[in-house]
Symmetry: C2
Subunit: 365 residues, 2 copies
């Protein structure tokens, strides 16, 4: 029996996660997927009830889980949650404490959206690549950091971008292996013409390539050029590996190639144990979207497709992952569109109706 | 008499700059623009002749100039130029030594390209915004930086992102003033949810707004969201201000909205003296493009439009700047297209022919 901790979180998180949970239940019932689901509280509501953004029960659920399905966190920082409590319970801290160093963000465009106004100006055919973002190091976590006040009263804010041999190699190894299982091409993105942290990054990637992955075709790109190429011709990429902050920016940049940020799933993986199992957190790429929270109009496909990643990467069910991805394509082909991807003049469906559409497609396929 | 130092540099730099020089000469002859042009050497050729990437004559020309028109630098690092000589003569060092802290990158889409295949999927109507990129601080220059080897033989590469009150305020002041002269809206882009350097950035922008620019409409955006919004709906922006590395990435991301990186000009400005004059370097946003260098096919419009920025910002000729921008639009409307913006099946024009087309339009208008 595999244990999945389901944490809706804040903003639209609970709404989209509810649909993903229905999908997970479908696989448990119809495909005898041996999963045990435990829902856990996170965020403002948890803080109101317990004084903690991540209460002890939630920590326990996370620690006992084989996989976490996460919704979203953040939004207007209410005076209610003091900054320290927020920091203590931040997604960043969670990622770091679980050592989730490899963040996978697949960018795949659905054929049903190619000719779909208003997306047809944006959605490019034949895009299918994965950004592997280093998630537990870099400028997000480097020390020293802070804000200092100088004798003249002026201030200085500073952060450290830092990468070690080991930090680069483990995420690069992950990306090389992924590339080997796909079309065999890896593009490493850095800013080695400006930063020593990137020089080290590039040197370690090159060394690892020579030592362990000579069969993978490796290329390098500066981050500014990569941002442009992702917009101009995303079809050229197979697997891209990059650091924490570049991965953050580039994946949002790439989101538009898929039509909407709402479509995109992600997986964040930790180190493998002796049995090859990894701590894993699955979540849509989008955030808490406070402007539309509670209205039942958010796109649940990013969360639902995160379940497909879970089926593939944690639950050992690659065929079910493919089935679910096909069901999402089928629902789109049958015209289901939430507001973010709806054609002008066509009434969009609700979050729950998109969930219904995917379940109907699963029944049908 | 104003002095302009013209430095073609490397790769396609000399080719595109030659066309921009012809345009400058046109204004000098036909519009009695009082400029004195001095060409200066920079890069590999200079190194071959003098042993320096920036020879003393070039330094003298730069120091004596009211404006610099720069082409491009970089490309395959030939073993011929040793890394120290390269660093000594790098564009980064030049920007820093001239204290060019405000880098303006306007993104304007030309109506003639809206319906122009293969661009019509990319070029969005009504885009007209300016990215003001901080250019002389941040992670490009912060100390400490380096690569260290640890006792176990592994290494660590590190850089410092650092911003002071003064560094933020001077570029923000520039951006607020620019916004005031345009549609009155400024969007400041940072990653204040992750970096203290960005927290300081945001706080200083907010304080300056309250103190000096309450009439400007100020908003804030995280850099990942900004990358997405620039692709999704660039028409929403008027002026954007951001740090050095974010500005680097976002401006390349935005380039596609204009159809091609080859179309985009830039101005890099230093502090104003008592007469309000600023050291200024004008250059296309594109790089040296070694793959097409020497073939006479590069798009010179980025360089030519940089001359328009020079007319406006250094030479005190706003009417001539508008005339030149109109001439570029007119040349495009008459069908002139270099390879980067050509329709499939239509023969593109050469770099020189695009220069001819702009000069013909100038004669006509
Ligand atoms: C909320 C924020 C800290 C986070 C990040 O930058 O990692 C988010 O943008 C993401 O990409 O998951
Ligand atoms: C060449 C490189 C150092 C430079 C930069 O990053 O500033 C370039 O990309 C630019 O944008 O002018």
């Amino acid at each position: 029996m595999m244990r999945v901790a389901v944490i809706g979180g804040e903003g639209i998180g609970p709404e989209v996660t509810a649909q993903a949970s229905r999908v997970l239940a479908w696989f448990s019932e119809r495909r005898r997927l041996p999963v045990e689901v435990a829902e856990a509280e996170f965020g403002l509501d948890a803080y109101r009830r317990t004084g903690k953004v991540i209460p002890p029960e939630t920590r326990a659920a996370i620690e006992g889980a084989d996989a976490i399905l996460f919704g979203a966190t953040g939004g207007p920082e209410t005076a209610e949650v003091p900054p320290e409590a927020r920091r203590e319970g931040s997604l960043l801290k969670l990622r770091r404490s679980l050592d989730l160093y490899a963040n996978l963000r697949p960018i795949v465009t659905d054929p049903a959206l190619y000719d779909s106004a208003p997306l047809k100006e944006r959605v490019l055919t034949g895009v299918d690549f994965v950004i592997v973002r280093e998630l537990s190091s870099g400028i997000y976590f480097g020390e020293p950091r802070g804000i200092e006040t100088r004798p003249d009263g002026s201030r200085r804010g500073f952060n450290t971008n830092s990468y070690t041999t080991e930090e680069v190699r483990r995420v690069a190894r992950f990306a090389f292996e992924l590339a080997r299982s796909r079309r065999g091409r890896l593009c490493s993105v850095d800013k080695a013409n400006v930063m020593e942290a990137s020089v080290l990054w590039r040197e370690e990637v090159i060394a690892l390539h020579a030592e362990e992955f000579p069969d993978v075709e490796l290329s390098h790109m500066y981050v500014d050029n990569a941002a442009m190429q992702i917009v101009r011709a995303p079809g050229q990429f197979d697997v891209m590996v990059t650091d924490n902050i570049f991965g953050d920016i580039l994946s949002d940049c790439a989101a538009m190639a898929a039509g909407s940020l709402g479509m995109l799933p992600s997986a964040s993986l930790g180190p493998a144990d002796e049995q090859g199992r990894r701590t894993a957190l699955y979540e849509p790429v989008h955030g808490s979207a406070p402007d539309i929270a509670g209205r039942g109009i958010a796109n649940p496909l990013g969360s639902i497709l995160s379940v497909a990643m879970m089926l593939r990467l944690t639950l050992g069910r690659p065929d079910d992952a493919i089935l679910l991805e096909r069901a999402v394509g089928d629902a789109l082909a049958h015209g289901a569109r939430t507001a973010d991807i709806a054609e002008p003049g066509c009434a969009p469906v609700s979050t729950a109706a998109m969930g219904d559409a995917v379940l109907a497609s699963l029944d049908r396929l």
